[in-house]
């Protein structure tokens, strides 16, 4: 192994420290290693006490998001080489409380996820025996993009509005609401609009656009929220101008 690269990892051990400190490690700089491999090298060979989450190492489980040199990134999809000669600074995803080292608390998101009703809402369920709901490829394409979210939380970390106002429902949750809104099988539009058309919902977003920039799955939450605002404004005007409808 010819060369190495320095990784500066943010350590926070709540029993010992009142705030995070950086600790440096030297790891082999290999062309096929991603940052996560570097972290595992540290954990296996140098320091077993470093804590971080990871699982699939192929960009779909959503566990291993961290701040790399100040940017939110999936560490399984970021090569050490692209940060050479280093040092690489690794911190937990920002805007979340830090539980330990690189582990953040994401209960806030889990709660918000439930509030946007990310499931098919129907006035009347069709019995399974009667077969599938018909849906054309075009109808599928309408929401497909927004269904690709892996809940990796990079968008929340990239969103300054969420950083400033933790009450903001946030990019991924709204994109998921939109995923169901646009699904031809769903009839929950009005329910979700009721929930999301308050100040902490869609209207907090100022279209910074960073959520869509960092999204590893190209979900475009910023676009989802914009479309949602348009729908929200339309329904607001309708309720003002045509109050007898609905």
């Amino acid at each position: 192994m010819a060369s190495t690269i320095t990784i500066e990892v943010s350590r926070y051990r709540p029993e010992e420290e009142s705030e995070p400190v950086f600790q440096s490690y030297e790891v082999p700089l290999r062309s096929d290693w991603v940052i996560l491999d570097g972290l595992n090298y540290i954990k296996n060979e140098l320091d077993g006490s470093l804590s971080f989450r990871w699982s699939c190492r192929m960009g779909v489980c959503g566990s291993c998001g961290m701040m790399i040199n100040g940017e939110p990134v999936l560490t399984c999809a970021a090569f050490l080489e692209s940060y050479a000669p280093g040092p690489i600074r690794i911190e937990p995803l920002q805007h979340f409380p830090v539980v330990r080292d690189l582990v953040t608390d994401m209960e806030d998101f889990m709660g918000k996820l439930t509030t946007v009703k990310p499931w098919v809402v129907r006035e009347e369920e069709k019995p399974v025996e009667e077969g599938e709901y018909k849906q054309t490829p075009e109808q599928l394409a309408d929401f497909k993009r927004y269904s690709m979210c892996i809940n990796c939380m990079l968008c929340y970390s990239a969103c300054p509005v969420y950083g400033l106002e933790p009450e903001f429902t946030g990019p991924a949750a709204i994109a998921l609401a939109q995923r169901y809104n646009l699904d031809s099988r769903d009839e929950g539009n009005d329910d979700r609009m009721e929930i999301l058309s308050h100040d902490e919902g869609i209207w907090s977003c100022t279209l910074v656009g960073e959520c869509s920039e960092v999204c590893p799955k190209d979900v475009d939450p910023a676009g989802a929220i914009q479309r949602y605002k348009l729908a929200g404004a339309t329904s607001w005007w309708k309720s003002i101008l045509l109050p007898w409808q609905k």
């Binding site: 989450r53 779909v60 489980c61 330990r100 699904d183």
Partner: protein, 557 residues
């Protein structure tokens, strides 16, 4: 379940957030008969013959019969299945299936199924989630399972979670092996928990290799890359499959020949090639090359874009310009916790479904796209059975508290122990010995060596080193516990493989190369003895309508 009985309350205990579970990585699809040109009979026969007649035929029948309903249920819950122009669900062909019957959601089927299920589950208030709680033990008293002990990772709190019935759905144990498509979390937790509680593990010797994984990460390179014309070559650039009775090389891909032969045969050819010294050797062991460069950038980008994305994004290889290093990698464990057709284990109140369980419908070799469907069918069955059991068994027995205290003591002792053996060392030695002794080919000699090695590692494991004494999100502690699970499960794999003196499906013994229906048309059941060793028993395979035949693929048919 809740729609049928709102009085139930359910705790979902998981060591990761539900949407991180490994189902998320499944790509291909899920099989169920829905098209008019297909029949249940055909799906049953494909499954049984694919399993080399090692599966229980009543279970396969139930599975195939219920599959369409469960898949439709998931459609109603919002799963974004790919569609035909007329709006009906689309199906694609899959290995070992005679007719196109695999439902798919692009190349992220597992991802969509998992997220659909998880998101739909949020609708139900009676479901209480224990996210990032790590289960360390089953509570068994009075002959039935009455809950678990778990550690809340964020706080280090050790706590019993009682339940009048318990369902295991913890997935497989691919991480026992060095090269696997499995995620880091697949350490056989549920298998070991049940095994330690006296429940036998069934058919553990049957472990499926996929012939083309990336050597370092185990990331799967789909069969489609070969179907599109990708070729496998050894270190001399020679298409070595022609030497192993797999046909003759053609410039264009030919179905069921050469690179499109069955998975097990391709994996076996790799081992033979390695023995001849004609594979390449790298940092991560031996490998060969999958060459798709001749297809050109256009075809690669339009037909197998995900292959290029995976190689580029996660392993820094561009298949347009470079050959892809590949080797057989562990993909799926056919065996698991012994359950009956209703997902019930022999232990009262304990149920299991998914890869952790062995019903069995996968026998000696699982067919692609049956496993995702299996989750749905037997998950639903497990739910129904567990609900019934819970209703029939009110209350909990005394004596559980002392078990909880025992477990707390055990964990605290471990956390404060002064060992010397590094987790990573024991783990990598386990990997090595499992690959060399219980890999694609096994023999009495290699298995006995591995068995001895695993015993040595078990002994060293009792002196494992703990650097991290924190109660807060201690991932070293969980790694140690997971290693303990894996060592136990490894032992059952080796013992079951040792006792099965025949070759069948994914279990290939060099010293017993033939299938032996007279002696071994039965499931192995590995029980844990008090001294920690495994005892293997047998249970006849249930044959109903389809007597064992020859498993034929390719030209012979």
């Amino acid at each position: 379940m809740f729609e049928s009985d709102p009085t139930l309350t359910i705790a979902v205990v998981s060591k990761v957030y539900p949407m991180r579970s490994h189902t998320v990585s499944a790509e291909g699809g899920a099989a169920a008969v829905i098209k008019p040109n297909d029949s249940l009979e055909d799906h049953i026969y494909d499954t049984i013959s694919g399993a080399d007649w090692m599966c229980d035929q009543d279970a396969v029948e139930a599975f195939v019969n219920e599959a369409p309903k469960e898949m439709l249920q998931l459609e109603h819950w919002g799963c974004p299945w790919n569609r035909e122009e007329d709006g009906t669900v689309a199906v694609r062909p899959f290995g070992g299936m005679k007719i196109q019957r695999t439902w798919y959601a692009a190349d992220k089927t597992g991802f969509h199924m998992l997220h659909t299920l998880f998101q739909t589950s949020l609708k139900y208030d009676p479901i209480e989630r224990f996210d990032e709680w790590f289960v360390t033990r089953l509570l068994v008293e009075d002959g039935r399972c009455q809950g678990v002990v778990a550690v809340e990772l964020a706080t280090g709190r050790i706590q019993p979670i009682l339940g009048r019935s318990v369902i295991l759905s913890t997935g497989g144990c691919g991480k026992i092996f060095p090269f696997t498509t499995n995620a880091n979390i697949k350490n056989g937790d549920g298998m070991a928990l049940a095994y330690r509680a006296g429940v036998p593990l069934k058919d553990m010797e049957f472990i499926q290799y996929h012939p083309t994984g990336l050597p370092f990460t185990g990331i799967l390179i789909t069969e489609a890359s070969r179907a599109e014309g990708g070729i496998l070559v050894n270190k001399d650039g020679y298409r070595y499959l022609q030497d192993y009775d797999l046909g003759t090389p053609h410039p264009k891909p030919v179905l069921r020949s050469m690179e499109l032969g069955p998975r097990d045969r391709l994996s076996q050819a790799f081992v033979k090639e390695q023995e001849k010294g004609r594979t390449l050797e790298g940092e991560y062991g031996h490998y060969v090359h999958l060459d798709v460069r001749h297809l050109g950038e256009k075809i690669i980008d339009s037909r197998i874009p995900f292959v290029r994305e995976l190689c580029l994004k996660y392993e820094n290889i561009d298949p347009v310009k470079e050959m892809i290093p590949v080797r057989p990698v562990i993909h799926y464990v056919m065996g698991g916790v012994h359950t009956d057709i209703d997902s019930a284990t022999p232990l009262g109140g304990l149920f299991a479904a998914g890869e952790v369980a062995c019903v069995s419908i996968n026998g000696a070799n699982r067919l692609g796209s049956n496993s995702l469907t299996e989750l749905l069918v037997f998950g639903a069955r497990a739910g129904r059975s567990a609900a019934e059991f819970a209703k029939a068994h009110q209350g909990f027995t005394n004596g559980i508290e002392s078990q909880v205290l025992d477990e707390e003591n055990r964990l605290n002792t471990l956390l404060n122990s002064d060992g010397t053996e590094k987790v990573a060392d024991i783990r990598s030695e386990m990997h090595e010995t499992m690959e060399s002794g219980a890999g694609i080919y096994r023999s009495r000699d290699t298995l006995e060596q591995s068995s001895q090695k695993i015993r040595e590692l078990q002994e060293r494991y009792s002196r494992v080193k703990v650097e991290d004494r924190s109660m807060t999100f201690n991932t070293e502690l969980t790694s140690i516990l997971e290693l303990g699970y894996m060592l136990d499960v490894a032992e059952t794999i080796i013992q079951s493989a040792l006792q099965r003196e025949e070759s069948r499906g994914s279990h290939q013994r060099t010293d017993f190369p033939e299938r032996d229906d007279d002696q071994f048309l039965s499931h192995s059941l590995a029980y844990r003895e008090d001294d920690g060793s495994s005892r293997v028993d047998y249970l006849p395979v249930k044959i109903t309508k389809w007597p064992p035949g020859e498993r034929v693929y390719g030209e012979k048919k």
